[in-house]
């Protein structure tokens, strides 16, 4: 067997948790070679980041414990090296970048200092390190590189911060770069740029890259080979194209099948009297204009998708419509009455009609209430809906309706998985029998396979109960199979509004087109073709 640049053999790690000992990974083996990109694909809890954490000695022991295996690098087993030897490898030979660069950069030091520190820690003289830092920051494409070095992490945007992380990781020209979900929290357009940067840098240095992701699109865009993980084990591995086109394992097949954006698009709805019509809503937070004259109409039973990148004002729209925040001006007529001018008592009565499902069910469900309490609270607040003696039965009914077992009614939210929690949140919204549910990024925190299930649930509720939805998302493919109308927002304004077919098949605005183009397709071939097309385009533009 030829030697690889970095090889993990038969690695098993367990963690002590509240529920007992969990074997996070079992007998995992993989390798990466020079100039190669390996993707580790898996959903949350699959153990996909555990082996890389072991490589960099980042597993806290306790609660973690490596029970078997070896990690070969440079012909040595890292697990047998002393702490000093491993520190010498970390950052110099093997470097890592993380998801959420904001929290992974030290908030209280200038970024330049942090980049320089990587180099001085490995013996580079300060002056050279500072010159090199400037070069690196210039290379990763930040505007005003010299000024950027003096700034603090919170003064950058998400994409810029990830570029800084990359600059820091590459400071010592490592042999291996490990990227843990490097683009997950980023907007699609930014994601494309960061992945491109990674690819270019790999070509320049010839390093091996290990990218950990849950996103088939990322795999398709960047990976040469992929290992698929589920529940702590590798279920399938091979070249990315082969795995996509010819998945062997049922789990892989399920994962590929769940990727959104492949079903039928909804046909246009018949024109009807709008149940909600919003006119010219404005809202500013200090000097930042979150909503800049937004208008929309919503017909009964319609699903309106509001899509936009961060800062587009889509969440503000939801909060303003539900009077969680007060708008500065504008009107929102719900069945002819202006939501913004209701008295507290009138608003209370109207709460029944308008409900909301939030992005993160972990945070939107009170951790100290049981499922039954969470759902029946609606009736405690609006006593006329349901007499107390029928609460139990109705909770059971609602749980069944969202696909949960009625006997779980007495459990607490933390005992459920993310998808199950979002179902509880939906059941809670349904308890008030609303006519409109606003879903604010209701599926974006969920795994792909779970996303699909929750969207299916919402779709079913819409069909069966005729509920209208305003569905807010940052991701276009997610809304493709679900929405009747799509509204694209940018910097507080509506840039495009049309039926789902119009927007997806013939987008009018350049911004919409850019959004669509930046979205990654799970098929490596499609992505390869797009890249080729882009190159030709650039060359043409350059010529």
């Amino acid at each position: 067997m030829p030697d690889h640049l970095l090889e993990v053999r038969d690695l098993s790690v367990e963690f002590h948790t509240a529920g007992g000992v969990v074997k996070a990974v079992r007998g995992v083996s993989w390798h990466v070679d020079r100039g190669e990109t390996l993707a580790i694909l898996g959903e949350s809890g699959s153990g996909k980041s555990v082996s890389t954490a072991a490589i960099l000695d980042l597993i806290d022991m306790p609660p973690g414990r490596i029970t078997s295996g070896e990690i070969l690098f440079d012909g040595r087993d890292l697990l047998r090296l002393g702490a000093a030897a491993r520190r010498d490898i970390n950052g110099r030979r093997i470097a890592m970048i993380f998801q959420d660069p904001l929290s992974h950069l030290n908030p209280v030091y200038p970024v330049g200092w942090q980049i320089v520190e990587t180099m001085t820690a490995h013996g580079l003289p300060g002056a050279r390190a500072r010159a090199e830092a400037l070069r690196l920051v210039t290379r990763v494409g930040l505007p005003d590189p010299a000024g950027a070095l003096r700034k603090y992490p919170h003064e950058f945007s998400g994409g810029q911060r990830q570029r800084l992380m990359i600059a820091m990781a590459l400071a010592m020209k490592p042999d291996v770069l490990i990227a843990d979900e490097p683009t997950t929290a980023l907007d699609v357009t930014v994601q494309a740029e960061v992945l491109l940067l990674l690819k270019e840098l790999q070509q320049e240095t010839g390093m091996g890259v290990v990218i950990i992701t849950h996103d088939l699109g990322v795999v398709a865009e960047i990976a040469d080979r992929v290992v698929v993980m589920n529940a702590g084990e590798i279920v399938e591995s091979g070249p990315a194209r082969e795995v996509y086109h010819d998945p062997r394992h049922p789990y892989t097949r399920k994962l590929i099948g769940a990727a959104p954006g492949k079903g039928e698009m909804h046909p246009p709805l018949a024109r009807a009297e709008p149940v909600l019509s919003v006119r010219n809503v404005r809202k500013a937070y200090g000097t930042f204009t979150a909503l800049d004259g937004v208008s929309l109409d919503l017909m009964p039973g319609e699903t309106l998708a509001v899509v936009g990148e961060s800062g587009s004002g889509k969440s503000t729209l939801a909060r303003v419509l539900l009077r969680l925040d007060e708008p500065d001006s504008g009107e929102a007529l719900w069945k002819g009455r202006d939501l913004f001018r209701l008295s507290p008592a009138e608003l209370f009565a109207l709460r029944r009609d308008l409900q909301m499902v939030f992005q993160d069910p972990t945070q939107s469900l009170n951790p100290r209430m049981t499922v039954a309490q969470l759902i029946s609270e609606a009736w405690a607040i609006h006593p006329r809906i349901l007499p107390r003696d029928r609460w139990r039965a109705r909770v059971a009914e609602l749980l069944a309706q969202v696909g949960l077992r009625p006997e779980h009614a007495n459990r607490y939210p933390h005992q459920f998985s993310g998808g199950q929690r979002q179902r509880i949140a939906i059941a809670r919204a349904l308890a008030l029998e609303p006519e409109l549910i606003i879903c604010d990024e209701a599926v974006s925190a969920l795994d792909v396979s779970v996303q699909a299930q929750v969207i299916d649930l919402l779709d079913r509720l819409r069909r069966e109960m005729g509920i209208a939805f305003i569905f807010i998302a940052h991701d276009l493919p997610v809304v493709r199979d679900f929405a009747d109308h799509v509204m694209v927002m940018q910097r507080g304004r509506v840039v495009e509004h049309g039926t789902v077919r119009q927007v997806f098949d013939s987008p009018r605005e350049p911004y919409t087109r850019a959004l669509l183009a930046a979205g990654l397709d799970p098929d490596p071939d499609v992505q390869a073709a797009r890249r080729a097309a882009l190159r030709t385009e650039r060359r043409a533009a350059g010529a």
């Binding site: 960099l56 806290d60 970390n90 950052g91 110099r92 030290n106």
Partner: protein, 304 residues
């Protein structure tokens, strides 16, 4: 920053005015200083004369009006006991308290940060356990008890240190040592807790991935972030020291503002009580501003 200071000052001023009014009227509930100042067998004539000299025979509201009027001219009134301006008496004592507080807090801060950080680095390790128990015992002991035992042991028994008083640096050792104990115990706990969460934060993971030494991770990366909650507690402790360490000052014969305050309260020397409240309140206000500045210095995110 300036608007912030202005807002802060205004709020403090409101509190201070409320405090002065409250103290002025409530303290008068505790009796007439005449009876305490004059001997038991003083004649009625002497009593009447005393009341007249100090305006104690006027209605309370008139007395208050006069006090406020004087105050606006920065006249804090005379101490009955000491027969000189109250503010002079208070400032004299406050200098001692200030020195004691500064030295003690400086030592406590350094020691608590080092011990707490090391304890946090290996949670559950030997050092963590030993320092944990010691700091808890320190935070749990009545200070006057420790003070007396310390005098008996170190000054009388071993003769290493003077029992009490001021004069040489040696006189400071025991009061500071005793005063040190409780804030130290408390702050070690806070540093440890804050460091534990700082050490489990993502940027520490980054630092480890960069291959930094533990010392650098603890004292450079984690510590500065962990300092924010610690500073708050240091501020609280410093504030209570600035209010005067009554018990310690009493035992060690340390002429600080805490001892002055309790003596003045017991002697119903109201002008001194009010003046010391105002002086310490001002000092604490300034210290809180310093704490806010320290916050802003430590954390660039707060500067805006």
């Amino acid at each position: 920053m300036l608007t912030f200071i202005r807002k802060r000052s205004l709020a403090s001023l409101v509190s201070l005015v409320g405090l002065v009014v409250l103290v002025f009227f409530l303290s008068r509930l505790t009796g007439d200083p005449t009876d305490l100042y004059l001997p038991l067998d003083a004649t009625d004539e002497m009593r009447a004369r005393f009341r007249e000299i100090y305006g104690l025979d006027d209605p309370l509201l008139v007395q208050f009006g006069r006090y406020v009027g004087d105050l606006l001219r920065l006249d804090f009134g005379d101490s009955i006991r000491k027969a000189r301006p109250a503010i002079e008496v208070v400032l004299e004592a406050f200098v001692w308290t200030l020195q004691l507080a500064l030295v003690t807090m400086a030592l406590v801060t350094v020691a608590a940060i080092v011990v707490g950080s090391l304890a946090a680095f290996r949670v559950g390790g030997f050092f963590d356990r030993v320092s944990g128990i010691l700091s808890l015992v320190a935070a749990s002991a009545p200070d006057f008890w420790i003070a007396i035992v310390a005098i008996v042991v170190f000054a009388v028994g071993l003769g290493w240190l003077p029992t009490s008083g001021t004069g040489t640096p040696w006189h400071w050792v025991l009061p500071i040592a005793v005063l040190f104990i409780r804030p130290f115990g408390l702050i070690v706990q806070v540093v440890r807790g804050s460091m534990i969460s700082a050490l489990s934060s993502p940027y520490v993971k980054t630092a480890r991935a960069k291959g930094l030494r533990p010392r650098k991770i603890i004292f450079v990366h984690a510590l500065r972030n962990a300092m924010l909650p610690v500073i708050t507690v240091i501020g609280d402790q410093a504030a209570s020291l600035l209010n005067g360490a009554v018990v310690i000052e009493t035992i060690f014969g340390f002429p600080g503002v805490g001892k002055l305050m309790i003596d003045s309260i017991l002697q119903r020397d109201f002008t001194v009580v009010l003046a010391s409240i105002m002086v310490t309140a001002l000092a604490i206000f300034l210290m809180n501003l310093l704490i806010d500045l320290a916050y802003a210095t430590l954390d660039p995110r707060i500067r805006h």
